[in-house]
Symmetry: C2
Subunit: 207 residues, 2 copies
């Protein structure tokens, strides 16, 4: 079995740690919406920016949402169309999110969110003012109800009848990396990226 399911917390943590963007599914007046948004992890909680979901929550505070984080690792190229697939790591979290209102928690949540995608930025840039904090819609979601699914490795038809076809089969890896930082064109050319940004160029996301 190259496809695996897991409910272990360590597996969930690993998938969440490897990214910064999730797809948030929420019911808005009877219509399902799936919106990409940034997330951060702090302890047993996921924090997320979610203007769509927070608008819903104000009207329907007991709405269960689904947050899905997916990393694509490769195309599984088999000997038959039927056996084609994708190598991936995917976490799904279900729960009723809570709109964060406490300013201290909002600050902690925003810090987790900022550091998830851009470690080092929280200390480097100007932190939120009271007014900015108030204008930010932040959601907290417990990591209690979650599952992880992954697929890895070669195609499954290596010992099937199709192996006799003599075709090539294997995996075409998909790799997500950071490029060279692009400086804001309004800055003078001698302003160079700080080390915590410059050092990420060429690195694989989540490593």
């Amino acid at each position: 079995m190259r496809e695996k399911g897991s409910h272990r917390r360590a597996d969930l943590d690993a998938v969440l740690a490897a990214g910064f963007l999730c797809h948030l599914g929420v019911d808005v007046d009877g219509t399902t919406m799936v919106v990409p948004t940034a997330y951060g992890v702090e302890g047993d909680r996921l924090y997320l920016h979610g203007s769509v979901a927070s608008r819903t929550l104000v009207r329907a505070p007991d709405t269960t949402v689904c947050v899905t984080v997916t990393h694509v690792d490769g195309l599984v190229l088999a000997r038959s169309v039927f056996e084609h697939g994708v190598n991936y790591r995917c976490a799904m979290i279900y729960g009723v999110p809570r709109l964060v209102t406490d300013p201290d928690e909002k600050l902690r949540g925003l810090r987790a969110l900022t550091e998830q995608s851009s470690p080092g930025q929280w200390e480097y840039v100007r932190q939120p003012s009271r007014k900015e904090l108030a204008a930010t819609a932040l959601l907290a979601l417990d990591l209690t109800e979650a599952s992880v699914k992954t697929r890895s490795g070669p195609p499954d038809d290596g010992d099937s009848e199709d192996a006799a076809l003599g075709l090539w089969a294997g995996v075409l890896p998909v790799v997500t990396t950071f490029g060279e930082p692009v400086t804001d064109p309004v800055l003078p050319p001698d302003v160079t990226p700080p080390a915590h940004v410059a050092s990420r160029a060429g690195r694989v996301l989540g490593e």
Copy 2:
């Protein structure tokens, strides 16, 4: 405005053409689920593998789903936490999917799906048998109700008060590429990847 919305078909086509994986949001017995799945485009239709959604559709055939395709292009690193963001291209498609039952359409849909992620594979590998076709759950979704959102370019605070802080600001690009094909270890070492696979190594997804 570096954030843009569009309902133009050409913008939708461009986002869809640049990927092969979507997040499908569907209501399953009152709970929203967001599932990553492969898609293909043929004419005015999106085809997708969707076992979860198809199980729902059998019970509730008029279920509206949301399909979201997101490409992350970079981290927007501003002078303040508040102005941080992500450069992205995102398409959202709403509609009531149709369970494809006609064998000819199923074959066309599977071809679109296979060629979307792996151009050249449909002709190279063994195509589906009648039995395999019957075992595949394929959904068709019209591209009529769709919207595209994108963000590109530098942070928005280049002419704000924060510019005086003298901090570096800009974009850290995120790039998704194909790696070198990994041959199934059960194959003899002289079986090399066909040109349509080997030629993708090092190429950016969607280019």
